[in-house]
């Protein structure tokens, strides 16, 4: 870029003050408490909103300038992708399953975050916070739009992309992210900031947008890399906002510490469960892989998250409650997720498959303590069933965790041979959980989670009444096209045929 840099009349700090703090005003007709009704009920005590710092000191005029430049770069790549048969430059069409999951489950989450930050920008009394939330709200809407737009190029050629908006509301695995964001949006403003700004953005989005996107580049998908990195560069500001909010709360009043710690415990575990599927995308769905989920967790979870919690220790913050359980789960979760997706692949709007011998050799190298011992034998068994013409489909209805809504497919932290299952009785009803973390979250706020809309239970209610075909119709899933084994699918056949056409004149 060759950007003209005008001589500054004001310093960055002066300009920031003028274009944020000086935009605020004191209310006269109504009290502050009437204008900002939600800011006290969570119990967080703030004495001086002017102590809020935005270290990036980005003002709206610079924001538009740099975001405009990013959009120009993004659309240049999208145009090149559309004009240059970009959909044939990917390593293999099986890779598209990862993008379908992204579009169905994650892009709508960006939109939900946009709504959340628009609300929080209104509810926080401090003007620095309001401006930062406003920018983040616009960012999140931009992320949803650019992702949908970039992936629409694949929708022209491949199955499973056409009904992501229906999937967002109706598909069972999309209730995972939806319930995560609904939980955050129905909380107070400070809890929302910890949920999204801190746990999700700071501790977890690096795992989604950095190694996975670098992997997209390795697989020839420049459209996805570009929206991923363009989104992630906003995330750098969002992380700073989340971290700033946490420091601000802790510095304003020591009474805030136990409340903040409780939210960190809750939202780390909710985010860890939600992002687990990214491990499956990285370990199984990228034909060409940059690093394993375990390696990515080592860099962005243990090293980066660890640095953060060491830093916050001076305020009395300790690592989140589920931190050790998360570490134990890393060797297992991507395999357990992929095995579940394979067994239920008649009920997904993407393909799954049995990993090839090559893939299994890679997995065994990356997971030396667990893959050969626990997971290769299961894939070998599934291969035998498939070769015998009786591929395994799990027609049973998965039991869902009442909190995270994932089928209870994960094992005990210290025993990978037994499924982890917890239950709590509340007002005469039994509720089931996938982990101690999810059980604790429920028990702290049972009235919130007993209202959960659970897709498996919903399937048996009118108007679907347990009819699988009617359910597929309702979620806009075309059986035999959008779902099932990748091996033999229309996506696989088309990709191979079009690739051949691209290199011949016949």
């Amino acid at each position: 870029m060759d950007m003209q840099v005008a001589k500054k009349k004001l310093s960055l700090k002066e300009k920031y003050k003028l274009m944020t703090r000086d935009l605020g005003w004191d209310t006269t007709y109504h009290t502050k408490d009437e204008v900002f009704p939600y800011v006290k009920y969570e119990g967080i005590k703030i004495h001086d909103w002017d102590k809020w710092e935005d270290p990036f000191r980005l003002t709206m005029d610079s924001y538009w300038k740099y975001q405009g430049e990013k959009e120009r770069k993004f659309y240049a790549i999208i145009d090149a992708h559309a004009q240059n048969n970009g959909h044939l430059n990917i390593t293999d069409a099986s890779y598209l399953s990862a993008l379908k999951i992204f579009l169905q489950a994650i892009s709508p989450g960006e939109y939900a975050a946009g709504k959340g930050f628009a609300r929080m920008g209104r509810e926080f009394p401090g003007v620095g916070t309001q401006v930062a939330c406003q920018m983040q709200s616009i960012d999140e809407i931009r992320h949803a739009q650019t992702q949908i737009h970039a992936l629409s190029n694949y929708n022209k050629f491949y199955n499973g992309f056409h009904a992501f908006a229906d999937a967002r509301d109706r598909m069972w695995y999309c209730t995972l992210p939806r319930s995560f964001f609904d939980d955050a949006l129905s909380a107070g403003p400070f809890e929302f900031m910890i949920a999204i700004g801190f746990s999700f953005e700071y501790v977890l989005t690096n795992l989604l947008f950095v190694p996975f996107m670098s992997g997209a580049a390795y697989n020839g998908d420049m459209a996805t890399v570009t929206f991923g990195f363009s989104a992630q560069s906003d995330e750098a500001r969002h992380m700073t906002l989340g971290l700033e909010c946490i420091k601000f709360m802790l510095e304003q009043d020591p009474d805030n510490l136990p409340i903040v710690q409780g939210w960190i415990d809750k939202w780390f575990w909710r985010g860890f469960r939600l992002l687990g599927v990214v491990g499956t995308m990285m370990d199984y769905m990228l034909p060409k892989r940059v690093m394993s989920w375990k390696e990515a967790w080592g860099i962005y979870g243990v090293e980066n998250g660890g640095a953060l919690f060491r830093d916050l220790a001076r305020y009395g913050i300790r690592p989140p409650k589920g931190w050790d359980d998360a570490d134990k789960a890393i060797d297992h979760m991507s395999h357990q997720f992929m095995l579940a997706l394979y067994q239920y692949n008649f009920g997904t709007a993407f393909h799954s498959w049995i990993p090839s011998e090559d893939d299994m050799a890679w997995l065994s190298k990356k997971y030396p303590d667990t893959f050969d011992k626990y997971y290769r034998p299961r894939w070998n068994h599934l291969t035998k069933l498939k070769e015998a013409g009786t591929p395994f489909a799990n027609m049973g209805l998965a039991k869902l965790c009442q909190t995270c809504q994932i089928p209870t497919v994960f094992t005990e932290p210290d025993d990978p041979t037994s499924i982890c299952q917890r239950e709590t009785e509340y007002k005469g009803e039994k509720y089931h959980f996938c982990s101690d973390g999810c059980q604790h979250i429920f028990e702290n706020e049972p009235e919130k989670y007993i209202q959960a809309w659970l897709p498996m239970q919903q399937l048996f209610q009118a108007p679907i009444s347990g009819d699988l075909g009617a359910w597929m119709n309702w979620v806009s899933l075309i059986p035999g096209k959008d779902n099932g084994d990748y091996d033999g699918s229309e996506d696989q056949r088309n990709f191979e045929a079009w690739r051949k056409q691209a290199t011949s004149n016949q």
Partner: protein, 89 residues
């Protein structure tokens, strides 16, 4: 000591920026991955406008980093002349 890092897109814009970061932070380690460059440094990292300008051959506004920034770690402090990442412990 905790590590701070910055990750930038691997492109023509960032080549001189990466050279400048390495020059100003001798302990920095550069990791080149597909489409991105991640630079780690123990404890803190300083990115100076003047050093970037020497490498890039024109005036530079540090906020231009936003365009090619992927992610970072550590507390941020920014003014006209330098952009700092730091952990307190």
């Amino acid at each position: 000591m905790s590590t701070v890092f910055i990750a930038l897109q691997a492109n023509e814009d960032t080549r001189p920026i990466i050279d400048a970061i390495v020059q100003d932070n001798p302990a920095a380690i550069v990791n080149r991955e597909p489409a991105m460059v991640k630079i780690d440094a123990p404890g803190s990292m300083i990115i100076r406008r003047e050093t970037i300008e020497e490498h890039i051959g024109r005036t530079y506004d540090l906020q231009e980093l936003q365009i090619n920034l992927i992610t970072l770690s550590g507390h941020v402090d920014e003014d006209e002349d330098q952009f700092t990442l730091r952990w307190n412990s």
